[in-house]
Amino acid sequence: MTGKPQGGFFQRSRAAAALLLFLFAACAGKPEPVKAFLRGDLDAAVNGFAAEAAKRDKNFALHSAQLGSAAITAGYYDLADQAFQGASKVMWSTGAGELRGLLSLISAESLKVWKGEPFEKAMASFYLGLLYYMRGEYDNAAAGFRKAILANKQADENHREEYAVAFYMLARCLARQKDLDGAKVALAKAKKIYPGNPYFDLDKIQRSNFVLIVETGIAPEKYRHGPGASLDAFREVKTADAGAEVTVGRFSLGAAAEAFDLYLAAKNRGSSGKDVVQGTKGVLRDAAIATAVISDNQWVSLGAGLFAVANQSQADIRQWEILPQRVAIMVAYVPPGSYDLRIDFLDSSGYKLPQYSQQWSHVSVRADRDNLYLFRALPKQGGNIERVRPPQTKPQSAEEKNHEKDAG
């Protein structure tokens, strides 16, 4: 190209590029498996995320974590275990994706291998803890909850011990392992965050055998801001569901009590050196774009334009989209047997949301261990819970076999 570029051509090109960008942004909705999950079609979500995770690309941990979420909600516990283990391995690795990580410092941040925010790492470990708790493997469950607490230690200095639900579940595990002093310490940390939670009580832990984990809302949304859209932040996604009431058989067990808010965890995640790099990239990109537009020298314009193209400063906004916003617990003693269970999800004013009500049958309460169930406020859920059967992968110990034999 020779001679000074024509202003009209550049203006037309910019307008066309802006229109294309707008159309692209308008068409870019949520991925299909995410939509399937949110409309309550859990099998479609599981299949969709499994297909994505099978690609084993830079998003492997993200897809595996989402696969785990969908699978644990649908009751495919073995698949959920496998998916969360795979996701955690990458999320906690310091070596995986080194080259991509280095490239992301000088170009688009989304080039790097996704390893998640501290609260996302924490949730992957928390779900693993729940899976092992369901199996009655309390030491491995405690390991999952401890690791969830550890993940949150990467958050802002003043908010490192706010994972109340993980502290509570850790307290339950320790109490089941007869470590009552350890349970008291963990429970005190949970109480510090939610002093009004009626279930944060050692006596209730010891007397209860039925634990419900109830998830409501949708994960806070990650968005770009700052120079060159180089920084990321989280905003709350408002949903109608805010709480839940539980009925087992003919008895109302009352309301589930909030024990963790992911929006607060996301907001308090803290900053890191990566944010400084991103901010610098954004300022340089904005400066390059401004230079490209206002410079009279075509070579300076071209150079600045090429620099702006090469220096993709936009923040990486990949996120675990199907996480809930709030995690609540409901704890009770229920005599062993098989029950109907009803969960009514409530809005912030306490009114029932009929589209989310769930009616489950054949909810089994075993005598030999704690019974933990996880429910999520999603449409079209309910039915025979034997579909959501307890996992059977744990090799039975001799004692368990003898117990079953004696019972038989």
């Binding site: 391995k89 390991a143 401890r146 690791k147 090799p395």
Partner: protein, 193 residues
């Protein structure tokens, strides 16, 4: 060689370097995931040390009749979800290979199946070569895995202690205990939060 060929070779080298691949490596090599958790190398080192230590216990080494050992559960007090009984199974395999006949292992994991087989033999449903008493254990081997973890920003350190002990199944006396300790420190890249 012309510049064009040199460039082509460089591009091909880059493509080959970036191609996905799977290598077979030694089980006692460090893995490339670079985290601070238990690896196959730890499993190898722990189990070999423990098996070596067990063979040298005087009550086993000098026993006139081979003592019977039961492997009980391992308790996991770490921050890592582990297939914890893998340690005991690996120790047993090593002992079976290297100290066959000097100790006998009692299989309690198959208790129900053995009972069922015995019942079928007693009932004449299947053939039997003679009655035997179920073996009692002379010693119980147990393990505890502990860890101390610290994390701050992108830094993390994990101290893990894998300890095992041999207890007399009659008196409760502890005849042997050994531990393997490892501390690992990791730092995430600047690009990882």
């Amino acid at each position: 060689m012309s510049k064009k060929w040199l460039l082509l070779l460089l591009v091909m080298g880059f493509v080959v370097a970036c191609a996905p691949k799977t290598n077979r490596v030694d089980v006692d090599s460090d893995d490339s995931m670079d985290d601070t958790e238990t690896t196959s190398k730890d499993l190898e080192t722990v189990t070999q040390n423990m098996a070596r230590g067990l063979i040298q216990v005087p009550q086993i080494a000098n026993a006139k009749t081979a003592p019977r050992i039961v492997f009980a559960d391992v308790t996991n007090n770490t921050n890592e979800i582990l297939n914890k009984n893998m340690f005991l199974r690996k120790i047993r395999t090593l002992l079976m290979k290297n100290a066959a006949g000097r100790m006998i292992f009692v299989d309690r994991d198959r208790w129900a199946e053995i009972q069922k087989e015995r019942e079928m033999k007693r009932a004449g449903t299947v053939t039997a070569s003679g009655k035997k008493m179920m073996s009692g254990a002379d010693f119980i081997l147990t393990g505890v895995l502990d860890s101390l973890d610290k994390a701050s920003g992108g830094r993390r350190s994990t101290y893990t202690r894998y300890s095992f002990r041999l207890t007399d199944a009659e008196s409760g006396d502890i005849y042997w205990e050994d531990a393997y300790e490892v501390k690992k420190v990791g730092k995430a890249g600047l690009y990882d939060r």
